[in-house]
Symmetry: C2
Subunit: 210 residues, 2 copies
């Protein structure tokens, strides 16, 4: 069995949000064409994406059961098995992520946050911010696999190394720098500059056509 | 001439950050193999990416001039022509973006921020936050093309529609919702759930192999 493509995988949370809306509105079944229309996608794309997820493949007339799809996508994305994470760097962005209520919907639970300030502080959600020196012990003790990095670029590699040495296996990097990691570590960079490059290029094309 | 792929485009800011570092350290030339090693990429990929950017294609022995590549990538990404943007939603994430100093390096200038609160407030960078009702006039007057959305999901579509009706042509959406936009509008979604799905899947594969 081949794995799901990164593109398909990234569309699943979008489908899930839509299906949850339908579910809340009492809609019981949905066709792949309806989903495709909603997101301006090719219906074939949607059908292929859902083929990875759903066992029944949708009925010819009524389509997919909304409740079943919600359960199947949530299961596939691991939203039912909450994963613990630690966050390092409680500046503006770190605080924004700590205060973001949506993560629990995605099966992510930030169990502790850290900063380099020496005294224990309280974050905006009234939780303790720990000194970075406590990270190794806490990560090992709680068996945390995911580390979120929201420190300035110049500190990011040191934080990354500390996380990996402490047993972290997946790094979600929000610092504007490219981190060097061993092959057995999962890494996902949130690169604002890369996103902005894509947006700017599309804007330039649109302005040219006017 | 074919356009550059999205993947290539998204790698350019990463190369540029690295090249700027080399430049600061007084290194004058670099080979595509060195760049590839740095980012664990195939050298062919790097050579193809740079072929879009650089006229001389790099010399066989010394490689590319670092200074020339910095200038060429900056030019290509439009970092020399600053683009103005407005931001709507000055909560935690909006504040984090307003306070982010890196945007100016990427040619982005947030000229005004807006929120739905009725009285004028001051953001963390000591700039005025305007009432959302002032957006259409300000966008038209300043000829702003880019709108950044950092409001809660339930308000995002209304803000998006207001931006488009005011003349915004490119939307950078940080709200966890899929926005419906006309075809002549550029849109880039920062979807945390999609990123997390990719990271979780990689982590699962790593844990399975252990």
């Amino acid at each position: 069995m081949e794995g799901i493509s990164k593109e398909s995988l990234q569309r699943l949370p979008t489908y899930l949000r839509y299906l949850n809306e339908l579910h809340l509105n009492g809609i019981e079944s949905v066709s792949s064409t309806t989903i495709a229309d909603r997101f301006k996608l090719n219906p074939v794309t949607v059908r292929k994406d859902l083929a990875f997820i759903s066992e029944d493949g949708g009925k010819p007339k009524t389509g997919f059961s909304v409740a079943d799809l919600v359960a199947e996508i949530s299961e596939f994305l691991g939203y039912n098995n909450t994963q613990d994470a630690v966050l390092v760097g409680v500046g503006k962005l770190g605080s924004a992520l700590l205060g973001y209520k949506g993560f629990s919907n995605y099966g992510l639970n930030i169990v502790a946050s850290f900063d380099c300030k020496t005294d224990i502080q309280i974050d905006s959600t009234k939780r303790e911010i720990n000194n970075i020196s406590m990270l190794p012990d806490l990560v090992k003790r709680l068996g945390v696999n995911i580390g979120i990095i929201t420190v300035p670029a110049e500190s990011a590699q040191a934080v990354c190394d500390l996380m990996i040495n402490s047993g972290i296996k997946a790094i979600w990097n929000f610092s504007p720098t490219h981190l060097i990691t061993p092959d057995n570590i999962a890494i996902k960079n949130e690169d604002m500059a890369a996103s902005l490059a894509v947006l700017s290029q599309r804007l330039t094309a649109i302005l040219k056509n006017e």
